[in-house]
Symmetry: C2
Subunit: 231 residues, 2 copies
């Protein structure tokens, strides 16, 4: 198992990568390129080109493609190769429908002493700190962590894994809109409101506020996406 080769191409092997296989590291790199838009939606990924660029063997890259296809980051067509997925309006609508279903149900059934509440508190505090410094990408990450912590209230590993995939697709949408401030700035306070309801055990109020927020966010993102992506 080789871990040194990748280090020589990408400038830094991060601490997070230590102990990871080449396959995992490569998957993370492609994932990041998709989310950042470096690999643009709909584009075809050539095995020959990409394995040369990333300095991994074609077989390893194929394993990575299998992983990322199942995650929804890539789309595989037999004999024609692999393409970056193309979020559409219906993608966004499906994502928000699922979020309302999963997140609101998790909040409705939550116990106000659930361990995940402290994760939500940490995420809200982080978002506020980053907003004050105008670090909008970090605000976005804190928002995503807040919502993942909501899903953890349900104590369902499968729902949490499913939500992680939904989250990844949503990040792809955010990346295409390319305006983290516009996306995240209006909502930092909202998360604090939802959390406050939860911390005092008012789960119905929390679920109602969350649902309202999700409807608003959906409309907001649909509009932004329509402007950012012509046709």
């Amino acid at each position: 198992m080789k871990q040194t080769k990748l280090a020589s191409i990408e400038p830094t092997t991060t601490a997070a990568e230590a102990g990871q296989t080449v396959t995992e590291i490569t998957a993370a790199r492609i994932r990041e390129r998709v989310i950042s838009g470096t690999l643009s939606p709909g584009s075809h990924l050539s095995e020959a080109t990409l394995c040369e660029e990333l300095q991994v063997s074609r077989n390893t890259l194929r394993e990575v493609f299998r992983l990322l296809t199942t995650e929804g980051v890539l789309r595989h067509e037999a004999n024609r190769g692999v393409f970056v997925t193309t979020p559409s309006i219906s993608t966004i609508m499906d994502i928000f429908h699922i979020r309302r279903l999963i997140e609101c149900s998790a909040v409705s059934g939550a116990h106000h002493r659930h361990p995940s509440i402290s994760k939500m508190r940490a995420a809200v505090d982080a978002a506020i700190k980053h907003r004050d410094r105008s670090e909008w990408l970090d605000v976005g990450s804190a928002d995503i962590a807040f919502h993942a912590a909501i899903v953890e209230l349900a104590d369902s590993p499968r729902l949490s894994a499913f939500y992680a995939q939904i989250s990844l697709e949503l990040r792809l949408v955010f990346g295409l809109i390319r305006d983290p401030e516009y996306l995240h700035a209006p909502y930092v306070g909202q998360n604090a409101t939802i959390l406050a309801h939860l911390e005092e055990g008012a789960t119905a109020n929390a679920a109602e506020a969350l649902e309202k927020y999700l409807y608003q966010a959906e409309r907001f993102i649909l509009a932004a996406y329509s402007r950012a992506i012509p046709g």
Copy 2:
């Protein structure tokens, strides 16, 4: 791309396999062995042994392992290989929690003219026919198709795909209990009741009957699983 080699080992290349890649066919075969119990829960899958047995290359098998790991059929541990997943009591509880969330929500929001209703009808009719012939595996398959059709009422590709994975895990549980008649016989009529409510537009009644059924089925399967799997 080779399609002839697999045919020479397994007795018949089925019609369903025509046009499929070796990878897909191999994945399906391993999936089936896991569900049937031929590959038992927790067991380690040796790349060297299995690729020889299935007459595919190790690289191809590794791609298949990536696919099946993401599906939840196998569990991958870096440097130690791949294991068949081991459903536990908490697996069953998680599955039913998710089923109640997804299925009941889909039924509550259903339109009584939704195209999926006819799939549900076909599944109910098939289950009754197979029950009358004591073909219990087929009854089970029809039941699973009925519930997948329920999820399709939501018109959400991601929920349907997620549910397909949940379904697969449930089939693994059923396989371990090894008594399809015991599992499915008590519930054939129940599906007809749920469907009748839906066909007359009484979605709340349908959702209530479905939820009740899911709680019953959960308790039933938990008990059967506890008896079938010691410890």
